[in-house]
Symmetry: C2
Subunit: 249 residues, 2 copies
């Protein structure tokens, strides 16, 4: 935990917070905080801040908070992900939030099994804490927005225009010869929507539909990867590509 | 499973193989093979090949194999990894093999806990099947070589000259402003040794020692990542960097 995230309602009118549970335990048992010590804070979807420990009261920690003015921007990358197996998605939530995603658009696809949509791991009560865990790891405050779409074609044909109105659209495809890094050369400013397929890949119909709606294919060499490995790898490549395009180095 | 990997001793003198257990189950229950069907094969640390199903005998599958002449090269990237928590390393083995690593050099570091070295997940009987699983996912035959080093300083000062005699040495560091992709621009030919630190990062002493032994720092933006996420992300960036440097696109 590299940041303690608070829900806005947890902060009282005078900037005081009483932490209990896992976050307090982390501060006392792992960081061994004492009164006077400073702790990195964030408000969920709000600003970063600093908390001064005012007291350790049994299992609780009391903090006095100061907040920055600006709220950090949302990550520049959105993810269109064919719904992975529940076990894989469970592992992936925190890593998606840690790598930085603005909107997670989960979709059906020909090679997605129907029963994946009934999994607990698609319920906010399950994934919200996992997303928060990833944000606290990566020192971000911006919670990814999640939406779930059971029909691929209406999603791509109708809904994407609203969900992702402007920016670069990329689809990862094993064996594709254009690298993800190259696809973004000189393209620092735009948002990127990255589509990652299911185990076994997108179908030809799906690839066609994506191509007709502005998605360029990008790859990562010839090795087919598991859905979670591919997601982490491609998100890293997109972020690195945007970073290189924006920076002086 | 995108490839069935065989140990060389499993193939008889006439190119015949009798598969049982998990690999046979995958062929019958997932791929529903019938006699005459072709199956992608590989020999561990040997060539790729093709197997023709000659019979399905109860739970066993019999194949007639034909092998390519050439053995694929080892992946161009080696990994110097501060030993992660056992639970994290268990998840990471197959992903390391899938992404492509020639030599996995596991090391102690100031922020590695001693008891990690006693974990089952460091025993070949545990990690060998996980590495094979990753190779079968990524259609590779070259098993990563694994070595475990309990002392960081002698490893870097003495052993690395033999373990990694020539090539680029990079160390991933959160917040470093030079991107991994940029570090490899125009450098397609060389091998790369990528060092990834523990949760909490390398110590100043360790970073100094690595710098004095030829490691350049590279980063991935400001977000601190969990050790397994960082490993997958940095390996992807190094492979993509080598690929871009080697290719026409």
């Amino acid at each position: 935990m590299n940041l303690v995230l608070l829900e806005p309602h947890e902060v009282d009118g005078h900037g005081g917070v009483r932490l209990s549970g896992e976050r307090a335990r982390h501060l006392t048992a792992v960081l061994h905080v004492v009164p006077g010590q400073l702790v990195r804070l964030g408000q969920l979807d709000g600003p970063h801040g600093v908390g001064t420990v005012t007291a350790v009261d049994g299992a609780d920690v009391l903090l006095e908070c100061q907040w920055e003015e600006a709220v950090p921007p949302r990550p520049q990358v959105d993810l269109l992900l064919a719904l992975p197996r529940p076990k894989v998605l469970r592992r992936l939530w925190s890593q998606i939030a840690a790598l930085g995603v603005g909107h997670v658009i989960l979709t059906n696809a020909a090679r997605v099994e129907r029963h994946y949509f009934d999994a607990h791991v698609l319920e906010p009560a399950t994934y919200h804490p996992l997303l928060v865990e990833g944000l606290q790891q990566a020192r971000d405050t911006r919670l990814p927005v999640v939406s779930v779409h059971r029909r691929f074609r209406p999603l791509v044909e109708d809904d994407l225009a609203t969900l992702f109105p402007a920016g670069r659209r990329l689809v990862g495809h094993p064996g594709e010869t254009r690298s993800t890094g190259h696809a973004l050369d000189g393209d620092a400013a735009s948002r990127v929507l990255l589509a990652v397929g299911p185990e076994g890949g997108w179908s030809e119909f799906e690839l066609d539909l994506l191509a007709r709606h502005g998605f360029s294919r990008v790859g990562m060499g010839a090795r087919p990867l598991r859905s979670d490995t591919a997601t982490i790898a491609l998100l890293s490549l997109v972020h690195d590509g945007l970073w290189r395009a924006s920076g002086p180095m």
